[in-house]
Symmetry: C2
Subunit: 652 residues, 2 copies
Amino acid sequence: MNSLKQSIPVSLKDITITDGFWSRYVELVRDTVIPYQWDALNDRIPDAEPSHAIKNFRIAAGEEQGDFHGYVFQDSDLAKWLEAVGYSLAGKPDPELERLADEAIDLIGRAQQPDGYLNTYFTIREPEKRWTNLNDCHELYCAGHMMEAAVAYYNATGKRKLLDIMCRFADHIDSVLGPEPEKLHGYPGHEEVELALVKLYNATKNEKYLKLAKYFIDQRGQQPHYFDLEWEKRGKKSFWSSGLLSAPDKKYNQSHLPVREQTEAVGHAVRAVYLYTGMAEVAAETGDKDLLEACMRLWDNIENRQMYITGGIGSTVHGEAFSFDYDLPNDTVYSETCASIGLVFFAHSMLKMQANSHYADVMERALYNAVSAGMSLDGKHFFYVNPLEVWPEACEKSPIRSHVRPARQKWFGCACCPPNIARLLSSLGKYIYTYNDETVYTHLYISGEAFIPMGGDTVRLVQRTNYPWDGNISIQISSDIEKEFALGLRIPGWCRKADLAVNGEKVDISETILNGYVLIKRKWNNEDRVELHLDMPVELIQANPKVRANAGKVAIQRGPLVYCLEEADNGENLSAITLPLDTSLTAEFNKDILGGIVTIKGKATRKDESTWQNQLYRPFEYNEKPIEITAVPYYIWGNRKPGEMLVWIHYK
Amino acid sequence: MNSLKQSIPVSLKDITITDGFWSRYVELVRDTVIPYQWDALNDRIPDAEPSHAIKNFRIAAGEEQGDFHGYVFQDSDLAKWLEAVGYSLAGKPDPELERLADEAIDLIGRAQQPDGYLNTYFTIREPEKRWTNLNDCHELYCAGHMMEAAVAYYNATGKRKLLDIMCRFADHIDSVLGPEPEKLHGYPGHEEVELALVKLYNATKNEKYLKLAKYFIDQRGQQPHYFDLEWEKRGKKSFWSSGLLSAPDKKYNQSHLPVREQTEAVGHAVRAVYLYTGMAEVAAETGDKDLLEACMRLWDNIENRQMYITGGIGSTVHGEAFSFDYDLPNDTVYSETCASIGLVFFAHSMLKMQANSHYADVMERALYNAVSAGMSLDGKHFFYVNPLEVWPEACEKSPIRSHVRPARQKWFGCACCPPNIARLLSSLGKYIYTYNDETVYTHLYISGEAFIPMGGDTVRLVQRTNYPWDGNISIQISSDIEKEFALGLRIPGWCRKADLAVNGEKVDISETILNGYVLIKRKWNNEDRVELHLDMPVELIQANPKVRANAGKVAIQRGPLVYCLEEADNGENLSAITLPLDTSLTAEFNKDILGGIVTIKGKATRKDESTWQNQLYRPFEYNEKPIEITAVPYYIWGNRKPGEMLVWIHYK
């Protein structure tokens, strides 16, 4: 098979992040989130719903009495924790954490069934119903997460135990599902295992796993429809409710069409981007250009029709789903944190095939906005839903906005987002660069050090930047020997003017830019220094006029950061604020606010409510009073007293 | 009891409407809607869900075999039809229609049980469960509608049969429910019977019915809560679903507090305004000033906090309900036609106690906008939900807008709105004037003739106007003898300049205006003529800045009519249109458009979509192109090819 991979990420063991913006998050994950989640998995968080995840494994292993508790996909919480632990250990060894993880892995091993099967729900509750409800029951989803954990832990520690456990389970899955007549011709109801099987293939080089991933992807949506056959076979019942149900909704889990025929992102947004990531990974490994083209079409649909300016996806709470092109309501939005994390995965998989900055631009947009908004500054509170407009009274009293919370929550009954943030942030290093023998692409501007193996040599890159607060990036290259390669630097889509110098000498960007990356090809000597300056003014952004929700409104953006107004700075009723298009907005670093942020200030006007008595309507009168507004980065919203928040501001 | 009634409406038999705007509707109801509904009640409409309403009565009467079908409140459809027939016969005798109605009444009589009980659901399906679930089962609601029908039919024809049937039923209800220890201390889950009992009292002068109405009103929301006791008694079950349920939602049906303690309109909007109307009617008849004050508080909350500019109420589909103050979303709106009809009832009941134009202003607003929008120009298609912003693709693909239809529907499974429109429009005459011995108040400007009995004499008023297309109203007064009284003419809230002349002589309005009515007190001679000119320019209206949904937007209004943009006139994507505040808008009568309407035209701008490629966001550029817009009255929208519609337009 001819791989379509053009570049690969740097091993997490070879990269260190020492970044003003991200290190705090990475450390929070390591020092707070991972320990907190371990306590959660062990039901030790006071006032929080118990997780039962570890307990379920103990019961499945026959070491404790009791029934299964939690969601049918509860196992995946332990898997995501282990995956995060793997990444974290790769970055910074921690013997005590490794000991906890090893214990958990031993427990997982003891819960594995003799035939390799591993799922505590079915083992405890319904062993006879294994593989009878792929549509609802997340067996393959949980398997996928545990495979990802196994690979992460193996890569970090070299320990094969969980990897072996998951290979045995993958072998078992391969014996049950597949194209052969005697096997079930099914595929997951919640995609995830496809991308995980590619990781397992990469870790083990066992092509069986890649083949199985490809089978799941190609079988999806074929006729006769597996989920219909399965549903009839189990008596037209669903796992989620008693009584007879109509046939499963195919769009919800992207099985409405064979994946190569799909052109629009539909259904549950997390499922969708996990599927597309799996498709991209399979395309990359197998050289499947048709599949790559399907990925490109779906990417284009998301990026240019269905994505919030924050990198959020999923416009509706109903099915936590995409709705349709240009439907991007700000207040009834879903924009699940996990979905933006999945979008980062998809972007990263595409980048490995095509060093094209529009993938990295979206990856950056999601990381600096929707994803980082998902976690509080204390690392202990999380958003599941990431709105762009919040009116707290409406969250309480308007049923269509009751899924939106004006403050981050401690933990969730369905706790998918917090561990997903943890595994993403603890592996952030791998999203910064990709490389091949000729080129190192820099996708993200994050301070730190990377050791990149290129054709037998190791190149050391040291990136220094105050990004996203300013646009100055310095990269120092060192190599044991003089080394010729191209250094690719992404010129972000938001940047309209960039200056580049190598060892103090200005380089004309326009001549060397390719697909959004300026390529500096030269023989690099030790201590060569590249200086990139990205002009980072405050910009007013408008949405495509087809986005009804943003008509007459602009958003404030500076660099990769989307800004918002909060009640804490601007008082109640943010929708009464009008931003004159000719206003001058000033960015200023405030080290004392919310851990140190750039705030944006400027003159605006506000409807003078004192001119209104107790009345709803009156003939128009211009009654605006001048005010000064303060905007803060979107990711930081909701870290003060709960109140209103607004991204898209009326302009005049 | 000292009545608080200060004026009363004119009998429908004494009033004729010959109005350019309304006669078409009144005739449509008489000639099309009533016959169509009779066919519907008899299951004779092809391609429409059968009603079963007549069939249920036949089965209950023992004249046919079969099971009950339809909603538990299906009987009310026949009641509302009979009520409309009554009003229609009062205006214009029709022996064939009367024969059909008499047959239906005979059937109702045969379906009545020996003890007076009347309800086909319980008679056919669960006779042992009568009065066990007032919260869910609409027994009193159906009774109320049939009482209203009985009174209307009696007033029109003098025939007592249905009145007697309903008195027997009312007596039975009074024997089952009431304050005495041996009776059930309940009240309706869906209010309606309260106002109906006052009508029955007015027709029969039997105070028992007024007392029962007052009991239902005062008992509502008292502790221990009747609906909780009842729910426990029937095993914590609901009529609407199997399985155990939590205690009934009290706010949904306004039983969360005793009514005198209520200050905000909450819950199901139709239930709410039916209750408030009943409260006002009881207050008026019993002289209960406390109750009147509760009505005034609730009125104020609706008028000044929770009403759409169209006179629509109910912001959310969840429970077809009010949500909270200033929450008036235009696209996810509910604004059920029936709720605006109920608001007209409430306004009318308040007007009888207080001739204050803000009641009549709202009544007019609802009638000319939300209510008349409810029916198509062919009288055969109806809106249940009346949105202020429609994007047809969203109605289809966005779950939170799936209750909104871009075109009127033929009939509804829950067919409450069409017969409600029919009964309102066929009784429109009674909303025009109220009078007492000293004063005739003119609340609505509708051409026609009225004979008003004043202190033994009959005053004839002939009103001529082209309202709402212009603001010229002429009223000719004739009386057999010279007669002294005050003629009150409402100066609408939308009118900023009015001129008045009596027999050609100008009268200074400012000196005689009281609570929004100019009072012309004089000795009227035969053929006296009053000329009122209401200045009716096109106005741009703004909403209170607390209404987040309308920030940065204006609505176009002329006289009582709210205007809207339709795709048919203005192309796709109406949200891309911006109205400059200094634009000049011109009103012009077009006799060929939609049956003859005043359209409003003017210059605006539209975002130039040709400057956009396949992208969602970009830095702001001013790219507006000049366009001419055409606005049409809101009530007429959706009578052409289905498309977008917009009331609140972005301004600049």
